[in-house]
């Protein structure tokens, strides 16, 4: 393999290259004094801030609070949206009647709903979680309904011709058929929930969470802490996505085949 000879790096290590390049550029920017050192601490300082935050428990606490809110919002969204999506998907005429409403609110930035939810639910945790639930639920609902509606007709007919009852077809064929699309909804839903939770933590009288930490560090001009919190939020988003990908590969092994 000529390409392997010219780049003596194993394929599995290639993703590391991007990280190394980013860190080097970061150092280079500091060395060249391209950015005010107050605004851009070195990678090393950021790493130290991250380590201190984990060691003294403050970053870890904020991280776990954000995880808790995001997971809770996603779970509530799943409980609400999956059954409803199945119902709507099984009754395409009902879905058509509601499609515009669902699409409209799905397209509405959930952040625009903060003031409304604040008035209704107060400044507590409920508001943060419920706004995220709102955003995630519509995404999940939309995907589940489409997954059910687009179930391969042949598979349903195959079950029907065997004499399967409607309930059996729904639970043993349609639902499994919709799983790949449901997982698309879940991955998008959890990502959106994280975005909303982090934003909510910044602006709605919040005492903890990664959003709060980023915002506070910025206000106090503690830049290493701010970058550390940003990276922690990035890692969280990445891991949540990965979690759902692994779950999908396990549960929906036939997806895309």
């Amino acid at each position: 393999m000529r390409s392997a000879a010219s780049f003596p790096i194993r394929d599995s290590l290639l993703p590391v290259v991007g990280v190394v390049v980013l860190v080097l550029l970061w150092y280079a920017a500091i060395a060249a004094k391209l950015v005010d050192p107050v605004l851009l601490p070195s990678p090393w300082e950021t790493m130290k801030a991250m380590w201190t935050g984990v060691a003294d428990g403050t970053l870890l606490h904020d991280f776990l609070r954000t995880v808790e809110r995001t997971i809770l919002a996603t779970l509530i969204a799943m409980v609400l949206a999956i059954p409803l999506g199945i119902v709507l998907g099984s009754w395409p005429r009902l879905y058509l009647a509601l499609e515009f409403v669902i699409d409209f609110f799905r397209s509405t930035p959930a952040s625009a709903m903060f003031p409304l939810f604040l008035v209704v639910f107060g400044v507590g945790d409920e508001t943060k979680i419920l706004v995220a639930t709102f955003g995630a639920a519509l995404v999940i609902l939309f995907n589940v309904a489409y997954g059910v509606m687009n179930a391969r007709k042949n598979r349903l007919l195959a079950a029907k011709v065997m004499g399967a009852s409607r309930a059996r077809i729904l639970f043993e064929v349609t639902l499994l058929e919709s799983l790949p699309q449901t997982f698309v909804g879940l991955r998008n839903g959890v990502s959106l929930a994280l975005v909303i939770v982090v934003v909510a933590e910044m602006f709605i009288g919040s005492a903890d969470g990664l959003g709060h930490r980023v915002f506070e560090a910025q206000q106090l001009l503690q830049m290493p802490d701010m970058y550390a919190a940003i990276f922690a939020a990035g890692a969280l988003g990445y891991c949540l996505n990965l979690l759902f990908q692994v779950a999908e590969r396990r549960l929906v092994h036939w997806s895309g085949k």
Binding site: N154, L157, A158, K160, A164, L176, K257
Partner: protein
């Protein structure tokens, strides 16, 4: 006695209607496919359906199998409505007909689970059926891990596991390569010779339709009528030599003439 029974089986003297279609009506939108259509499909015989595009070949077996509702008319299988009859159906698109979340063996077994057959009996029946097929497939695999031919073979086994009264096949080999098609025709004929169950094959390949069949149902353009319904008296098992048998070539020629006459009518 035994020899006599075999002889009677081989040459049914009188056709006994198994599937009866009377006054069938079906339209799709403003297009009328069937408007008072009648046909009998004889018990224990192999009928191929052939005709011009859009004449409703697949629609006919879908209507008989109860996959789509009729607009009017009566369809009976052995005197009973289809919902009271065990039937098997093999789809053209095996990729979309098998359940990809089940292993091949569980796909085959699934109709028995629907019929609430106990586990031990399900296993025994699957084992018996697999033994009948002279193929080496790892049935622990998922359908998407198999070749097209293997998948369609699994589909056929799934249709046969309930020992149906009638087996419907909707262009089952059209997505397979030629070598696999020939192999599958042999497999199907082998099953037919062993079970003598009523089989109805929709085919878009005239040679296949005639080669497989005891009778070829030739349809006209829509609104569809029977253009002809000839017997194919070639002996079974049929093999490549059948293709050059004068009786076979003459009947294939006749079917082609009927077909072309119907196509030109439009």
């Amino acid at each position: 006695m035994a020899r006599l029974a075999v002889a009677l089986k081989e040459v049914p003297v009188v056709d006994v209607p198994h599937v009866t279609v009377r006054g069938l009506r079906k339209s799709f939108g403003s297009v009328t496919i069937y408007d008072g259509f009648n046909v009998d499909i004889p018990r224990g015989r192999f009928v191929s359906i052939f005709g011009p595009n859009g004449c409703g070949k697949s629609t006919l077996i879908n209507l008989i199998a109860g996959l789509i509702p009729v607009d009017g008319g009566e369809i009976r299988i052995g005197g009973k409505p289809v919902r009271d009859v065990r039937i098997g159906y093999v789809f053209q698109n095996y990729r979309e007909a098998l359940f990809p979340w089940l292993r091949a063996i569980d796909n085959i077994e699934y109709p028995l689970r629907v019929a609430k057959v106990p586990k031990a009996e399900r296993d025994a029946r699957v084992a018996r059926l697999v033994a009948k097929f002279d193929v080496k497939i790892d049935l622990k695999r998922y359908p998407y891990e198999m070749s097209g031919g293997q998948q369609q073979l699994v589909s056929i086994m799934r249709a046969l596991i309930v020992e149906p009264e009638v087996l419907f096949l909707d262009e089952p080999f059209s997505a397979l390569d030629y070598e696999m098609t020939l192999f599958m025709r042999d497999q199907l004929q082998h099953i037919f010779n062993e079970t003598r169950m009523t089989m109805v094959l929709v085919s878009h390949d005239l040679e296949e339709a005639v080669y497989m069949a005891d009778k070829v149902l030739l349809l006209s353009r829509a609104p569809t009528t029977i253009a002809d319904y000839p017997e194919i008296p070639c002996p079974r098992p049929r093999n490549p030599e059948t293709l050059v048998d004068p009786v076979f070539t003459q009947l294939r020629g006749h079917c082609l003439d009927v077909f072309q006459r119907e196509v030109r009518k439009s």
